[in-house]
């Protein structure tokens, strides 16, 4: 039986099928999955959510829960069959040799135990070693994952370190047992791009140093391109394509893989190269899968045969690539043009009004912080503030889009919450069409409220679960009287149609919608009062790439049609590229650079923008990206650094005399470039202009 086991494979899955028992039957979440991972190799598993990626991983560590089981196929770990073993033996085998890292580090850490105890426990449970020796090994391991001040971190509780550091602790803990196999399930999805970049570097290094086999699950093709050697693409529970990362990105063969690559935000050299093309439709639910090719309902090349005959995974051409598609040989990805069912944004430069619709002047928002001492409780304590937004100054031309980018905690959300009136400004001026918008909503005129509307980030909380789609979109119309009462229904239908949702969505409840559909309803609701300005707080960051692309294109078309002005927050620079007319980059409450979007992606760069750009994972293994990593964490917004707020982490500071002493002492000047491009830095703009571009790709070696 074990004659077909490859001895060098650490993990080998063969025709794996995993099912969950549910009320009234069972769901086969994973079918026909085969792959093998060797020593020192990182194997990426990609696909949209609901494709069964995590289920496959859980099967290996036996975390399927009480209702899940391996229905068919085998899992071989170091030559031993895991499926037909049971009990203690299995637990031991896995416990000593397989470690897992999850998306949310807090899931793995015990909030009420200091980190040192948690890490030591891993060692003392598995082997006889002394307390001191265990401590020393923990410190060594933390240093290997570049944890600053490792000895001290051991004494802290998980909530006392940042998210990026928590994830490093989890990874270090996983490595303590020196596992043969490390499974990582979206380990960087919850992190900022800058932190993600550092963690990805780390993973790459560890694999080389420890020779661990890594199974890396992600939905982000950029991440795959950066850390993986091989990749398996999963769709609707099946593996549809597998091969080396180089081959697959150079020449994706399965239409689904091609679609995924076209849908990911890229940082190509030009704007057109960053257009996103969505994959129409959505992943079928496990109990509603088609009988032929799973991808047939969404495929551009579908034929009669695809609908009836289920394709097998087969070796194609000379590359080491296996594809599950009948027509691979006939498909020419380079000749692909978007179908009629895809909105493609019009990128011809619009003639923007120069007249600003919104003007901010040194807008400031401080939050009071409550101290915990007795003096504070009595009201005698020193008043302290979170300086969430400081000195925000810009103007937004009518009908244009301003993209706002920055790490978590940089004050992006606070800025737009202040503009829309959810928070009251603590200083500065902001006007919208000559209305003052520094006050909070309670003091605003209904006419003004109607003109500023917002689209939210989280699809699961953007809609009230108790009301239907129609009721929720209709409410703003009734409230502001934008249309007479008896025309509300018709108007809602019109909006639904614009959102590419059928009329039958009118009576649906939120729980009957997918994430992308909920976001569309959220957009429709924001547009229902016919506002002049729509503020979007990361409306796509919780969505799958293919859906993300559709929503972004939709927003662009809406904007073109209604001449809406938009403020659009994103946490990385790849998303806003083709989307924004102007972009502002924020750091720790301050705008660091602002200007027309083209000027942001080319020198002269602000040093922070440069670092952000070099952190974005690019879905192109052949791209050459500058390697700049920010040290340390974002400082506290309660006592932000003096002078330039970025000086504690700035990689370019040393270019200035005295190791950048001036940056610590003086607030930098606003330096003007061409076309209203402005940079907030002490380094002369002429010198900033001499930096190399961050990404010098033989652009997009991807054949799409």
């Amino acid at each position: 039986m074990s004659n077909n086991t490859n001895d060098t494979a650490v993990l080998k899955c063969e025709n794996l099928a995993i099912a969950y028992k549910v009320r009234g039957g069972e769901i086969e979440a994973v079918q026909n999955v085969s792959f093998e991972i060797h020593k020192g190799e990182t194997y990426g598993i990609v696909g949209e959510s609901g494709c069964g990626k995590s289920t496959a991983a859980w099967a290996v560590v036996n975390f399927l829960g009480s209702n899940g089981y391996v229905k068919r196929g085998n899992i071989w770990f170091q030559g031993q069959d895991l499926v037909n073993k049971d009990g203690e033996e299995l637990r031991k085998l896995r416990g000593n040799n397989i470690a897992m890292v999850y998306q949310d580090p807090m899931q793995a850490l015990n909030p009420s135990m200091v980190i040192g105890d948690q890490m030591r426990e891993v060692l003392t449970v598995h082997q006889e070693i002394s307390e001191e020796e265990a401590t020393q090994r923990c410190i060594d391991m933390l240093e290997k994952v570049y944890m600053p001040d490792a000895a001290n971190v051991l004494k802290r509780y998980p909530h006392q370190i940042s998210g990026g550091q928590q994830q490093r602790v989890v990874i270090a803990t996983a490595l303590l047992i020196n596992p043969a196999l490390l499974i990582m399930d979206e380990p960087t999805t919850a992190l900022d791009v800058t932190v993600e970049a550092a963690v990805l570097d780390l993973i790459d290094e560890l694999r080389r140093e420890f020779d661990t086999a890594i199974m890396y699950i992600t939905h982000n093709l950029g991440v795959v391109a950066r850390v993986c050697d091989k990749v398996g693409v999963m769709y609707a529970g099946e593996m549809v394509e597998r091969g080396t990362v180089k081959d697959i990105f150079k020449n994706p063969q399965h239409p689904y893989t091609q679609g995924l690559i076209r849908a990911v935000p890229k940082l190509g050299a030009n704007k057109e190269g960053s257009i996103l093309y969505p994959i129409p439709g959505r992943v079928p639910a496990p109990n509603a899968r088609p009988s032929g090719c799973m991808f047939a309902p969404r495929c551009d090349y579908v034929t009669e045969r695809c609908r009836t005959e289920h394709p097998e995974l087969r070796r194609v051409g000379t590359d080491n690539v296996d594809v599950r598609c009948h027509l691979t040989e006939e498909i020419d990805a380079a000749a692909w043009v978007p179908g009629d069912n895809i909105d493609v944004p019009d990128l011809t430069k619009r003639n923007l009004d120069t007249e600003p619709i919104m003007v901010l002047d040194k807008l400031q928002k401080y939050y009071d912080v409550k101290g915990s001492s007795i003096l504070d409780a009595l009201g005698f304590g020193k008043k302290r503030h979170v300086k969430a937004v400081e000195g925000a100054t810009f103007s937004v031309p009518k009908g244009s889009t301003l993209g706002i980018v920055g790490e978590s905690g940089s004050g992006k959300s606070t800025l737009i919450k202040t503009i829309i009136g959810l928070e009251q400004a603590t200083g500065g001026e902001a006007t919208f069409l000559n209305f003052d918008v520094t006050t909070d909503l309670a003091e605003r005129d209904p006419g003004l409220i109607q003109e500023l509307q917002m689209v939210f980030q989280n699809p699961d909380s953007t809609m009230n679960p108790s009301y239907t789609v129609g009721q929720q979109i209709g409410r703003p119309m009734e409230r502001f009287g934008t249309v007479p009462k008896d025309e509300v229904r018709g108007e809602v239908m019109k909006l639904l149609k614009q959102m590419r949702l059928g009329e039958n969505y009118f009576d649906r409840l939120p729980r009957q919608l997918s994430g992308g559909e909920k976001q569309r309803v959220g957009i429709a609701r924001a547009l229902a009062s016919r506002p002049d300005v729509v503020l979007c707080d990361e409306p796509v960051s919780a969505l799958d790439v293919s859906v993300q692309a559709a929503i972004l294109n939709l927003l662009l078309n809406v904007q073109a049609e209604h001449k809406t002005t938009m403020l659009f927050i994103a946490h990385d620079l790849s998303v806003v590229r083709f989307f924004s007319d102007n972009i502002a980059v924020m750091y720790l409450g301050e705008i660091m650079e602002i200007g027309p979007s083209e000027s942001i992606y080319a020198p002269p760069y602000h040093p922070y923008t440069e670092a952000l750009l070099s952190a974005v994972p690019v879905p192109d293994p052949s791209a050459i990206q500058k390697h700049i990593r920010l040290e340390g964490d974002i400082p506290s917004a309660i006592d932000p650094p003096s002078g330039c707020r970025f000086h504690t982490r700035c990689p370019r500071k040393a270019m200035l005399p005295n190791n950048g002493k001036i940056c610590e002492e003086q607030i930098p000047p606003w330096q003007e470039g061409a076309d209203g491009h402005k940079i907030f830095c002490h380094i002369p703009i002429e010198e900033l202009a001499t930096f190399d571009p961050v990404i010098s790709a033989p652009n997009s070696g991807v054949a799409v």
Binding site: L441, M454, S466, D507
Partner: protein, 366 residues
Amino acid sequence: MTTETRSKAPTVWSNIANYLKLVSESRIATIGLAMVLFWIIVGLTSFVWTPQDPNASLGIPNRGIQDGFMLGTDRIGRDNLSRTMAGTQVILMKTRIPELSVGAYLLGIAGISAIVLGLVALPWASDKRTRQKGFIGLIIAAVLIPIANIIANSTGLNDIIIPKFAIPVGVAIWGVAGSLTLGSTLGLIAGYRGGTWDQVIMQILDALIAFPRIVLYLVVITALGQGDLVMIFAIAVTGAPGVARLARSQALEIKSRDYIRAAETRGESIWYIMFREILPNAIGPLLVDAMLRVGYAVFTIGTLGFLGRGLPPPEPDWGNMINLARPSFGQAPLSVLVPAFAIVTLVVGLNLFADGLNEEITRYQK
């Protein structure tokens, strides 16, 4: 799955149907519901038929099972079975309004209006935009009773007497409905508004919770006298803090959702946000809790009856039945056991129903 595309807007009926489906999926809830339904049917039957007249001494006192008295007789020869059946009435079926003057009615209506107006005005008062409106409402609510009092005294209204009658639904249910209205409004304001409003409201309610419950009941009943309406008032007031806590925790959780931000950025009033945006999503747990509270109320009425402070005669009251039969327990145990069984099964039934439903709802949400 395919029915999804043809689904209709939810109506009250489809919601109820949904809940019934949930109930049928939980064995515990089904058993509980059956026990509660049993007592409802018994109570309804008792209006038209009981084996004997519950208030007439027809048999030999303190006898066990005998012909015509299936479950024995009490110390003055009344039928235990008939009395236990009729005991359901005051708890679940009807509330007796005593003989009162028109003046007293006026005062009562003024009191209820003051509470309702106060509950409506309080949210406005806690909202920056509508504060003035709210405070005016609160002032009106505060002067309603004195004004009604003056009117009643200065005219002859106090002399016109309206005879006693009964209104549908029993004391336990009215009482819990009262705590639900009072408690959820206060809890929603505290949770959604936060800050000073939260502190003040919750301090007051916590002080109320700190009192032993039964003492609170006894204080109210001693001050206002025994009666169905007083019992309702006592149940409503003692239950409100608990409901408020639950409503507050729900509001705290729900208010962080983006759809609440969306309502705020539409400039919706606090009243709309509390009752139209938050409450529909908090109602499930509140209703489950209310069902448990009906159970407590039945139990408390029983306890008070046992202490001789329960509902007034002539309709039988289970607690009182036990109390009166206690001295002769040795001779006629059934006179104690039968009403005790009634209290236990009704309370346990309500608990099972609430627990089962709650479990099913939480599972459904996952």
